[in-house]
């Protein structure tokens, strides 16, 4: 039977009489856990921000008609040449339309899928921005502005003006900010655009678009889907792209494959399109954990050292305790609980300090041209960090306490009492 109250009482007395050493050991843990929480919050915040920069505007599945050569050429259908080696020169892309055939019904069909959060039609086209005699090439994308704001955070990238204005104003344009700089335009001005097949359309600028990627901002503009259809002289079922947002990004790949087979369209999922982001995130996480684990191991050695010293100092006490009826296990538990108390107090303090430090960093201004939506350093504090941090604190102090306490368990009281 283990009598916890007395074991904890002895552990507490030992710790309190050596308060300096105890505090230093606990501070080691506090420092380790505090920096872990801060680091991981900061890193996760940074990861989220970088991912958002690209991934938030990127559809989970992007469906379009790809212009490409037919995979099988007619000659392969000819049975008599089946076993022969054929070479076809100058293969041209298959003549097909840019628009998605039956685009609107496909969107309706997709929206019925339970995994799909939203499926948005887009009309993409190349245009020229006309400034006097200068023509700047660019892309104009017809969108449903409010839906784009809801599903793809378009609102974050609009500087000056709003998505509502784009929705409500006929013949309006959300102009890439670099184009506006080049042409010295401001909100409320008009800009003339010309589609490839000719004609000039004046559009009213209702806002600027700034993605943070300046090359993109120098070509990309948005307009209402109907406006673009009108510029192109197409009917209102003319859709070139469908962007799908899912509830769970993990399903993107399988669903993309299904769509590709079912509708004979090109469907690219986000993971295939942005594989490099995962790699970056993984490596940053790896660094965070490597640094934190190192800090905690250092803290663990501190605890190990201090407990070892304590046990040497308390040889007499250990011998007395054993002589008056404490078993080796009791003595081990006394020293183990000291380690765990240090770990617990240090860990909890570390969590608080980590939280405080993260919250502090989150208030420091961090403004950059590239990221219009970011105003302070990115911090992402999640409860799971605290659980992991605390578990690690307890685990490392347990290991650091285990070895010295096992030594205390094995001390032979007779040797000490006889003064040998």
């Amino acid at each position: 039977m283990v009598n916890w109250s007395i074991i904890l009482n002895i552990a507490k007395t030992h710790l309190l009489t050596k308060i300096k050493q105890t505090s230093i050991a606990a501070l080691g843990v506090t420092f380790g856990i505090g920096s872990y929480i801060t680091l991981v919050s900061f890193m996760t915040g940074l990861n989220t921000m970088l991912d958002d920069l690209i991934l938030n505007q990127t559809p989970h599945i992007h469906i379009y008609n790809k212009i490409e050569p037919s995979e099988t050429q007619p000659i392969s259908l000819y049975d008599k040449l089946k076993d022969n080696f054929t070479i076809v020169h100058s293969i041209k892309p298959k003549l097909s339309q840019k628009k998605i055939h039956n685009g609107l019904p496909i969107i309706k069909y997709l929206e019925q899928n339970k995994e799909v959060k939203g499926a948005l039609p887009q009309v993409k086209t190349q245009i020229f921005y006309m400034a006097g005699s200068i023509e700047l090439a660019g892309n104009l994308t017809g969108i449903n502005p409010l839906d784009e704001v809801e599903f793809f955070n378009l609102g974050d990238y609009i500087v000056d003006g709003s998505a509502e204005a784009l929705q409500n104003t006929d013949n309006s344009i959300l102009l890439g900010i670099e184009i506006a700089k080049k042409m010295a335009l401001k909100v409320g001005d008009r800009i003339q655009v010309s589609p490839i097949n000719g004609g000039v359309f004046p559009l009213k600028i209702v806002g600027f678009y700034q993605s943070g990627i300046s090359e993109l901002d120098a070509v990309q503009s948005f307009s209402n889907i109907k406006t673009v259809q009108r510029i192109l002289g197409e009917a209102n079922n003319y859709i070139t792209d469908v962007n799908v947002k899912l509830y769970d990004i993990e399903n993107a790949m399988t669903l993309a494959q299904d769509i590709q087979q079912q509708f004979n369209l090109k469907a690219v999922d986000i993971k295939t399109a942005n594989a490099q982001f995962e790699t970056g995130t993984d490596i940053r996480n790896l660094i965070t954990y490597a640094v934190s684990v190192t800090l905690l191991i250092v803290a663990g050695f501190g605890i190990y050292n201090i407990l070892n010293m304590l046990i040497y100092e308390k040889m007499n006490d250990i011998a007395i305790l054993k002589a008056i009826g404490f078993s080796g296990k009791d003595v081990q538990l006394i020293f183990m609980s000291q380690a765990m108390i240090i770990g617990f107090v240090g860990g909890v303090l570390g969590l608080l300090i980590g939280y405080g430090l993260s919250s502090l960093i989150a208030t420091i201004p961090f403004e950059t041209e590239a990221m219009p939506t970011v105003e302070t350093y990115p911090i992402d504090i999640q409860p799971s960090f605290f659980i992991i941090g605390f578990t690690f604190a307890m685990l490392s102090t347990f290991l650091a306490g285990y070895l010295p306490s096992r030594k205390a368990k094995k001390i032979d009281p007779v040797t000490i009492i006889r003064g040998l």
Partner: protein, 224 residues
């Protein structure tokens, strides 16, 4: 008279640095209420014997009975329990836990035993301290009392669980004659009034002569 402690054919060897036969076929018993002392020259094995009898040293041949129960070969946990409940110790150096108060030191074995509530234990501890005329020391830190007082505290601690036997390893060896006298009187009183068995290892011939029985040892053997 009941036998409290009995040793049968106890042999012990030291294996380092060379094989050395320390205790050679020790047979004796301590009866209830008996005040026995073990005497002998340094190195005759009397302390070694005491630590075997105390169950702290388990590396020996032979059989040891406490209250007629064989305790040789029990596991460490059981031995700890036996020490806690049935054996009280007094050492030459008055080993107290210096960071605890006198009262806490005395209460410690009883708390470990866990048979009584804290209040009962505290009451018992105060009783023992009163019996030894040191109740005024109760709230003091163990590091703040004199040597003679410490030894009396150690006796109080040894008594707290009302053990079957008290063992002492030169309990007066580190005390001046006045305090040694004092400690002896306490032992004598415990033996006579409480009918407690005592087994004391000592160098002090005067001390030994006043006990009920002297066990004389020489070269690992009991000669008287």
């Amino acid at each position: 008279m009941n036998t409290v402690l009995e040793a049968k054919h106890i042999n012990k060897y030291f294996k380092n640095p060379v094989l050395f036969h320390v205790l050679k076929d020790i047979n004796f018993e301590v009866k209830k209420g008996e005040f026995a002392s073990i005497m002998g020259k340094s190195g005759c094995g009397k302390s070694t014997l005491l630590y075997i009898l105390s169950t702290m040293d388990t590396d020996y041949d032979g059989e040891l009975y406490l209250d007629n129960n064989l305790i040789t070969g029990s596991d460490n946990k059981h031995l700890s329990y036996m020490r806690n409940k049935h054996i009280g110790f007094v050492f030459q150096f008055h080993y107290l836990l210096t960071e605890f108060t006198i009262l806490e030191n005395v209460m410690l074995p009883a708390k470990k035993l866990g048979e009584k509530s804290n209040q009962e234990i505290e009451h018992d501890a105060m009783e023992k301290l009163k019996m030894l005329n040191i109740e005024h020391l109760a709230p003091k830190r163990a590091s703040r009392v004199s040597g003679g007082e410490k030894q009396r505290v150690a006796i109080a601690r040894a008594l707290i669980n009302n053990p079957s036997i008290i063992m002492g390893d030169e309990p007066t060896g580190n005390l001046d004659s006045h305090n040694a006298e004092n400690v002896f009187n306490i032992f004598k009183q415990l033996s006579e009034e409480e009918n407690l068995s005592l087994l004391i290892v000592t160098h002090d011939e005067d001390f030994a002569k006043k006990t009920d029985r002297i066990i004389q040892m020489e070269d690992g053997k009991i000669i008287v």
